[in-house]
């Protein structure tokens, strides 16, 4: 064709900007949805382990039983909210005010003196995670109690382990979830929105009309990338401000680093969005593909919520081709630790590489044909 024409580019950019500003759904996805997401990840989703409420049925009056009961009361894992008989506590368990019942049976002190002593743990099997957690930790409390009584309580333990969390001393999950949420927002704007706007042009028949003008395919792609890159940066800035002001997330890195990281990822996400729209010409199909190929992997396979290192080996291999996987550690670092270019640069390089592949595939697949 006739090469790049600034005039055509400008006309298309003006058109695209008007469409973004006049389409309420675009503004909704770009500015309202991110805030809602942040609020959800910031307030509602909490991965911290707190104290679990249990009931305690102490059926033995001996000293050993009372000592074990004391350990349960002081345990960092449990909060004993009820003491009473089993039938009474069972009602509370059914009602959900407590998650489990620990029973210290009648002959516990006598058995303990002989080196034995079993306790009974009753949990709600319909909540298997809770049930397993309570059973395991109750057993843990009993074992450490046994060990303490068998050994010399007065002497200090030969080795002690002290946990210190760096960068996130309170171990507040919100602090690493919020930067992750920014990654999700960028994925939505870069991949989902871009895939939708191109599919919309096909659906409404406007693509057919502009393809019959001198507009080149390269120009068309460029005018789709630029406005949504701007939109993506805007949304990132908004999310950052909300994180800092509302959630008090620390920001220890530099704005420049955040800008460069975000730009690299947006390049990659926009490329993915355009590639999807080169393959799907209906908004419905485009949104399904964007959801499955971009949004869900960014949410589940990027290390945002689930630790990649604890996933099965083959899942870990899959995460290697999820671009958000290279974004989230850098984002978390720039927020919580500071500028670590040794980490940023290789991740940025990988994101740019993905983006380049997406754009090449798009350019190869996008033909100036309607059928």
């Amino acid at each position: 064709m006739s090469g790049l024409s600034l005039r055509r580019l400008r006309a298309m950019l003006v058109k695209e900007s008007w469409q973004i500003l006049r389409d309420p759904s675009t503004m909704l996805i770009a500015f309202v949805l991110p805030v809602i997401l942040l609020l959800i990840f910031g307030y509602a989703l909490n991965l911290d382990t707190g104290r679990t409420r249990i009931g305690l049925s102490l059926q033995d009056g001996g000293e050993a039983a009372a000592s074990l009961a004391g350990d349960f009361r002081h345990s960092p894992w449990f909060s004993v909210v009820e003491v009473g008989d089993v039938p009474h506590l069972k009602d509370d368990l059914v009602a959900g005010t407590i998650r489990g019942i620990v029973v210290i049976p009648q002959d516990f002190s006598r058995m303990a003196a002989r080196g034995g002593g079993d306790i009974q743990v009753i949990t709600d099997g319909s909540l298997p995670n809770n049930a397993a957690f309570i059973a395991a930790y109750a057993e843990g409390v009993r074992q450490s109690w046994t060990a303490a009584r068998a050994g010399h309580p007065a002497s200090p333990p030969p080795l002690s382990l002290t946990l210190r969390y760096w960068f996130n001393p309170g171990s507040v999950s919100r602090f690493f979830l919020v930067p992750g949420a920014i990654a999700i927002v960028m994925t939505m704007i870069g991949s989902l929105l871009t895939a939708l706007v191109l599919a919309r042009e096909w659906e409404r028949g406007t693509m057919e009309a502009i393809l019959a003008t001198p507009l080149g395919m390269g120009e068309l792609l460029l005018t789709k990338v630029v406005p949504y890159y701007g939109l993506g940066l805007g949304a990132t800035a908004l999310c950052t401000l909300v994180s800092l002001l509302l959630f008090g997330v620390p920001f220890r890195g530099s704005v420049l680093a955040l800008f460069l990281i975000a730009s690299c990822y947006l390049f990659c996400a926009l490329g993915q969005g355009l590639m999807i729209s080169a393959l799907a010409r209906s908004q419905y199909v485009a949104s399904q593909i964007a959801l499955l190929a971009a949004f869900l992997p960014s949410l589940l396979l990027s290390g945002f919520i689930y630790e990649i290192a604890s996933a099965p080996r083959w899942v870990q291999w899959i995460t290697l081709i999820v671009p958000a996987r290279y974004l989230i550690p850098s984002l978390q670092t720039v927020f919580l630790a500071g500028d670590d270019w040794g980490q940023f640069l290789p991740d940025m390089g990988k994101m740019l590489l993905f983006g380049a592949v997406f754009f090449l595939v798009t350019r190869w697949r996008m033909r100036r044909r309607v059928a």
């Binding site: 006309a11 028949g205 406007t206 044909r369 059928a371």
Partner: protein, 559 residues
């Protein structure tokens, strides 16, 4: 040019030459290959065989500045204003800045859109969108103008205005390709390419199509009481290739010139009239199927009844501040055809859906077969057969499954259902495609299946929303043959159409324009009314255009 999509051949070796300064018509029913051909010429589709040269270069490599292309859906950005759309296309087509203001002023004046420059394209009426689409295609003074069905769904007044604008462009030397499913538009072109199922049926001046049937098209006055017997006799004679009603008269296409026809048929006093393009098309396709309707032969006779079969009293539907249908009143006696005519968006379908009980009227009342829509909606619905405008069967179910489903929801079961399905299968020639998915049927068969589903339970009232939209004239004849025969059995039919010639089949017609009923009467009455005291106008199309102009004038005076 040859183009295939999978097993379907969209174009089977079509040659076409487009000359500058001429209006070339590309004519044919839906699915004939018109859009594919235009897209090949616009460089948007590659031909499998053959080639397309536009302005001396291959279509995909041409100078696109010199091409004006208006796709079927106009290619307008609905969230941009009139001026912003125009500006976008001016920039894309490299209109020099110096010429911009003069060109815009000329186009806005030409299309009468100057008052609406800042209105969003999505808020324009169908006719105005069309004109804006044309203005965007014309903005850089193209040498070639490709227009894909610019006349669809627009009121006759706008259609005529659009035609005049494009004609003026052709007068300046532009080569225009105008695609249409309306055969009357073909008559006015300089050259016509007639497509049917991807093949070229005719290429040349439209006069040639009319000339091939010259002297064989006659009109004969027949009193309504004798019409059936006369039609029967004419069919049996084998001389007639096509017979349609024209008001109180019959319009016939004969196999031989009228003076060579057996005098016993009583055509000696028939008037030889000017043939239409469609007559030539039907002649080229071998004549219409004029057999007695097998559907009506086995249909029950609907009992006599003095009460109107369909009644609308002041039906009104408002959506917020917008009135989709305002104060629509009419009454349809048993055993007659009532036509609702009007452009897209005029309020026909809204009126239709209120009478079917599909939407609730904001004001007014209606009844179907004596069932009041406010109180006995379900009974009203059970006594009508409904054929929706858009294909509303299950595309992923087979023909057989669709028939079984519709038999079921209309309360047919067991033996009755099997018999009804077998019957419509035979009547509509569906037996070979019972196991095909409905969505993959050719258009004509999809329409047949839709009608089959609507009549299986032999309802006393039929609602047909644009039943013949987009199908070829032969399928249209077949449909009307069934419909008129059912009416003789006492069935009452409410039909919408935008083919003005089909209005001739109706006993009474109501013209709907901008949500209002602007005139109603028999076809002859409306033609006379439109003549405004100077004798009836010739066609329903002209009548409609005249009545719309009169209504618009009256409204402007009142305002």
């Amino acid at each position: 040019m040859v183009k295939r999509f999978g097993a379907v051949t969209a174009l089977a070796g079509v040659d076409l030459v487009l000359h500058g300064g001429q209006m070339t018509g590309l004519v044919g029913p839906d699915g004939a290959g018109k859009t594919t051909l235009i897209r090949i010429l616009a460089g948007l589709v590659d031909a499998d065989e053959g080639s397309a040269q536009v302005l001396g270069a291959s279509a995909t490599q041409m100078r696109r500045q010199s091409l004006g292309y208006m796709p079927q859906r106009f290619g307008l950005y609905e969230d941009l204003s009139v001026l912003e759309n125009l500006t976008l296309y001016a920039e894309l087509r490299a209109l020099p800045d110096a010429e911009r203001s003069a060109t815009f002023a000329r186009l806005l004046d030409f299309t009468d859109l100057a008052r609406f420059q800042s209105r969003l394209a999505g808020q324009l009426s169908g006719g105005m969108k069309q004109k804006l689409g044309l203005a965007c295609a014309l903005v850089s003074q193209p040498q070639v103008l490709l227009l894909d069905e610019p006349g669809v769904g627009v009121d006759p007044v706008s259609r005529h205005e659009l035609w005049d604008m494009v004609r003026a462009m052709a007068g300046e030397g532009v080569g225009v390709l105008w695609s249409t499913a309306y055969l009357d538009e073909a008559e006015r072109c300089d050259q016509v390419y007639l497509l049917s199922e991807g093949a070229l049926v005719h290429a040349g001046p439209p006069g040639e199509m009319m000339a091939r049937v010259a002297g064989r098209v006659v009109q004969v006055a027949v009193p309504a009481s004798e019409r059936r017997e006369r039609l029967h006799a004419l069919r049996a004679s084998g001389v007639v290739m096509d017979a349609v009603r024209h008001g109180e008269a019959l319009r016939l296409l004969l196999r031989q010139p009228v003076d060579q026809v057996d005098p016993a048929l009583g055509l000696s006093n028939a008037d030889i009239i000017a043939p239409r393009f469609e007559d030539g098309f039907i002649d080229a396709l071998g004549g219409a199927d004029l057999a007695e309707s097998a559907l009506a032969a086995q249909y029950r006779t609907i009992p006599e009844n003095d009460a109107p079969a369909i009644e609308a009293k002041g039906l009104t539907k408002r959506y917020g501040a917008f009135t989709a249908a305002g104060d629509i009143s009419f009454s349809v006696p048993r055993g007659t055809i009532f036509g609702l005519l009007g452009p897209n968006g005029a309020g026909k379908s809204t009126t239709f859906r209120m009478l079917c009980g599909l939407i609730t009227a904001s004001a007014g009342t209606g009844s179907v077969a004596g069932h009041d829509l406010r109180r006995a909606r379900a009974d009203a619905r059970q006594s009508l057969g409904y054929m929706a405008q858009k294909f509303s069967l299950y595309g992923d179910l087979s023909v057989r499954q669709n028939l079984a489903f519709f038999a079921g929801i209309y309360g047919l079961s067991g033996h009755a259902a099997r018999e009804a399905i077998a019957h419509v299968t035979q009547v509509f020639h569906l037996s070979a495609m019972l196991d095909m998915n409905a969505g993959t049927l050719p258009l004509g068969f999809r329409q047949r299946l839709s009608l089959a589903c609507a009549v299986m339970h032999q309802p006393p009232v039929l609602f047909l929303d644009e039943p013949t939209s987009g199908v070829d004239p032969l399928v249209r004849r077949e449909f009307w043959n069934h419909i008129t025969a059912l009416v003789d059995k006492g069935v009452t039919v409410l039909v919408t159409t935008h083919f003005m010639d089909e209005a001739e089949y109706c006993d009474r017609i109501a013209l709907v324009h901008q949500s209002r009923l602007i005139a109603s009467g028999t076809p002859d009455e409306l033609r006379t009314l439109a003549g405004a005291g100077q004798g009836p106008v010739a066609t329903m199309d002209q009548a409609f255009a005249a009545l719309i102009r009169a209504a618009d004038t009256a409204r402007e005076k009142a305002a």
